[in-house]
């Protein structure tokens, strides 16, 4: 009897497999998240699962990076820029069936900004003074000072609205959100499965099931895509394989932009980098295009300041940091280093850093700067470089959107200490007029690029590969996310 049942089960599986071809998708990702609570960890892997799929906030990012309405259908901002009144969608339910109301918003925001909060982006909530529910669908947030970024901040995965009273420890392995997909299953080390939320308040998802499979090794990722084990790999880890996928009619290569400014971080307090002339020499010694071609196989856009080139407020500063080794040598001589000097170059694991590091080391040698290259893994890097500030140079991609504010913190690992920048940044934060904000952002970019704080290399590209019949995947990555709500199979 048991054998017959197994046979029937197999038949059923085959049958659903045939239909499911159009309603299920398996996507690959490199890093498995540690848990699934985006409000208690920075791992991008968490948002790659839950953002827009399971959890939603008051506002959200669209794929082009703009901020659009989320759980709040509309909002009014008071004259003084301090009061935000959010009108929530009504009839929104959590996956466990309970109603999402204004008190959930109040609870979530208060939890994120509480004293003992472990929210990785606590700064997003710093300007909030009070959160209050007027009725079930109206929330009033009062700020202590005007904050032009507030709606943007509320779109982050760290600002999603949880269900008041849920056991937050339990949410880590069984999230309960309001999104178009509900959490289904997690085989730790292997995959996470989401199923369509049939009671979704907005436009329902087209797919019924989404499986996210974790494959950390780039070679294995290549094999899994080629063998059809995964239908798409939204952020494919090995750019060297992309031309092969591109030439294959079964696949589409999707190239977009991310918020990742990849920089040659420079320890501004460590001699000789405390001399702006030396930092200027660095900027002229690096050939960005050679790095993009050599380390990223041509994927990436050169940058000259800490800002995403696709952002309307981007200010091109490339004139200031043209590749010119002669000028670099001359600047070094002026700074008193005619014979060059030796420094450290500490590289974290991603391939942009390891491969880019080799190329940069060669380029710096051309102008007389010798580097001792050390490869570190993330734990060591955070300890030595980020916390210990024991480095001359390092390469890292800063992937958070709109993160120019890190330059206002003199204790941040590259230790840029500029009173002028801090003042300008504070002024910008209280500015809510979009035109004035754009001007302010441009001024900040000019400041850091004329101070040559870091060597600005390139904007990290988002390079993905997908089955040629899949539609609706995000092209860009304005935040870490794999939004599957609009993905479908073309016939």
């Amino acid at each position: 009897m048991k054998r017959i049942l197994t046979g029937a089960g197999l038949l059923a599986m085959l049958a659903t497999g045939a239909i499911a071809a159009n309603t299920s998708i398996t996507i690959g990702d490199q890093l498995e998240p540690p848990h699934l609570d985006p409000t208690a960890g920075a791992a991008g892997a968490i948002d790659n699962v839950v953002y827009a799929n399971i959890y939603e906030g008051l506002t959200r990012f669209a794929s082009d990076g703009s901020v659009i309405a989320g759980l709040a259908e509309s909002w009014e901002i008071s004259e003084d820029g301090l009061g935000y009144t959010f009108n929530l969608h009504s009839g929104v339910k959590y996956h466990d069936g309970s109603d999402m109301t204004a008190s959930d918003v109040v609870w979530s925001l208060n939890r994120a900004r509480a004293e003992d909060s472990t929210n990785a982006q606590k700064g997003l909530f710093a300007s909030i003074e009070n959160v209050e529910a007027l009725d079930d669908t109206t929330v009033v947030v009062t700020l202590s000072a005007p904050n032009g970024n507030f709606l943007f901040n509320m779109a982050w995965g760290d600002a999603v609205v949880l269900n008041e009273g849920d056991d937050v420890e339990a949410l880590k392995t069984a999230p309960n959100g309001t999104g178009a997909f509900a959490f289904n299953n997690w085989v730790q080390g292997d995959s996470i499965t989401l199923s369509r939320n049939e009671a979704y308040w907005g436009t329902p998802a087209i797919l019924e099931n989404v499986t996210i499979k974790y494959i950390s090794d780039p070679t294995a990722a290549f094999a899994a895509v080629m063998a059809g084990d995964v239908d798409a790999f939204p952020t494919f880890p090995a750019p060297e394989n992309l031309p092969q996928f591109d030439a294959d009619p079964r696949f589409n290569v999707i190239v977009g932009s991310t918020e990742g400014e990849t920089i040659l971080s420079t320890n501004n307090k460590m001699p000789p980098f405390d001399n702006v002339k030396v930092r200027e020499a660095l900027a002229h010694a690096i050939d960005r295009n050679a790095i993009i071609d050599g380390a990223m196989f041509g994927y990436g856009i050169p940058i000259s300041t800490h800002f995403a080139p696709h952002n309307p407020a981007y200010m091109d500063q490339s004139e200031r940091s043209q590749y010119d080794p002669d000028l670099a040598r001359q600047l070094l001589a002026e700074a008193g280093f005619a014979d060059g000097f030796t420094t450290t170059l500490k590289l974290p694991p991603p391939s942009y850093a390891r491969r880019g590091g080799e190329i940069i080391a060669a380029q710096l040698r051309e102008v007389g700067i010798e580097t001792e290259v050390t490869n570190l893994e993330w734990g060591q890097w955070l300890e030595e470089v980020f916390r210990g500030k024991d480095f001359g140079l390092t390469i890292v991609s800063h992937t958070e959107p709109m993160d120019i504010g890190i330059y206002a913190n003199p204790d941040y690992y590259f230790q840029y200490d500029s009173e002028a920048f801090r003042t300008a940044y504070e002024v910008l934060n209280t500015e809510t007029d979009p035109a004035a904000r754009e001007l302010g952002l441009k001024a900040l970019q000019v400041m850091i690029s004329s101070d040559y704080v870091n060597g600005y290399l390139f904007q990290l590209a988002k390079t993905g590969v997908a089955n040629a019949n899949i539609r609706g995947l995000w092209e860009n990555a304005p935040t870490q996310a794999s939004d599957m709500t609009a993905v479908y199979w073309a016939e």
Binding site: E115, Q121, G189, A220, D229, L382, V396
Partner: protein, 314 residues
């Protein structure tokens, strides 16, 4: 036999205590902070500090060692810093990949090694012997991650007989076994090569013993003498190797687990190290040490069963 077993048990206990000290203190000195790794480079220091307190990372090292060991004794492996679930729970899922994989590979390896080792020894110097010796030389020399990639390219990408990797769970045992077949085969091949060579030389050694001539003299056929007298006497070195190989397969399949993206113990330790989830590393390594010591213990007991002289000597 009782005294022999008791002595072995005591040495097992002492090894475990020594291992716990070495494991804990060597792993704790790895630089890096689990809390900062979890929250990333944009997090404020007070959020990181709050998390450190939550995780108990603010306590002294000795205090943490003591609570870890006293937990272990009571069967409590601690709670993962990163995943916030009990380590025992995480291990459970992984053991059901690693253990079957190791068993599967060991069975395959034995099935391949025994016949060809015996054939080579029985036909010493013949073409069959040369084939076995050459083939096993190759089997030992080929790096197994490379061999794994070749197998994936051929059998998963070109012919699509197998998936390129992954493990779908035990819901359907047939599919589960199928997904373990390729990794088990890749793991088994070098082990089988070693085992076949050991089998061959151990058999050759016993074949030249006096008692073998006696067995032949009293009328045993060549094959009869080989099967009834030589094989059992050649088992001691073979058992030693099998014991070592099982320990290796259980703990050392990290690279193969990476190539086939299997959620086994090896890849779990690897990830835990990069995440500075030290409690997981410590508990799982301790568990593996326990498994290895246990296997060694069982092999010791098996020796005594195979060779009665060892019982008296001990």
């Amino acid at each position: 036999m009782l005294i022999f077993t008791l002595k072995r048990l005591i040495s097992l206990g002492l090894s475990l205590v020594a291992a716990s000290v070495v494991i804990f203190f060597t792993i704790e000195i790895i630089p890096g902070d689990a809390a900062r790794l979890m929250l990333g480079i944009n997090a404020t220091q007070d959020a990181v500090d709050a998390l450190r307190v939550q995780l108990g990372l603010d306590q002294a090292m000795i205090a943490r060692y003591w609570s870890w060991v006293s937990g272990l004794v009571q069967g409590d492996f601690g709670v993962s810093y990163t995943y916030r679930v009990p380590v025992a729970e995480m291990v459970q899922g992984r053991v059901w990949v690693s253990l079957p994989l190791a068993m599967y590979a060991l069975i395959l390896s034995t099935l391949i090694a025994f016949p060809i080792g015996i054939i080579a020894a029985a036909n010493r110097g013949s073409w069959a012997d040369w084939m076995v010796m050459g083939g096993t030389q190759l089997g030992v020399a080929i790096p197994n991650f490379w061999f794994a990639m070749i197998m994936v390219n051929l059998l998963a990408i070109k012919y699509r007989w197998f998936t390129a990797g992954g493990f779908p769970g035990w819901d359907d045992p047939l599919i589960a076994m199928k997904s373990l077949t390729l990794p088990a085969f890749v793991l088994a091949l070098p082990q089988a090569s070693i085992l076949a060579r050991v089998m061959r030389s151990a058999l050759l050694d016993t074949l030249s013993e006096d008692f073998m001539r006696t067995a032949r003299a009293k009328g045993r056929t060549r094959r009869g003498a080989l099967v009834h007298h030589a094989l059992r006497n050649a088992m001691i070195p073979v058992l030693t190797i099998i014991g070592l190989q099982f320990s290796f397969l259980l703990a050392g399949a990290i690279i193969i687990e990476k190539v086939f993206f299997l959620p086994g113990l090896g890849s779990m330790i690897f990830t835990a190290i990069t995440q500075r989830d030290l409690i997981v590393v410590e508990s799982v390594v301790m568990l593996l040490v326990f498994a290895v010591i246990l296997v060694t213990f069982m092999v010791d007991i098996t020796y005594a069963l195979v060779d009665p002289r060892l019982r008296r000597r001990a």
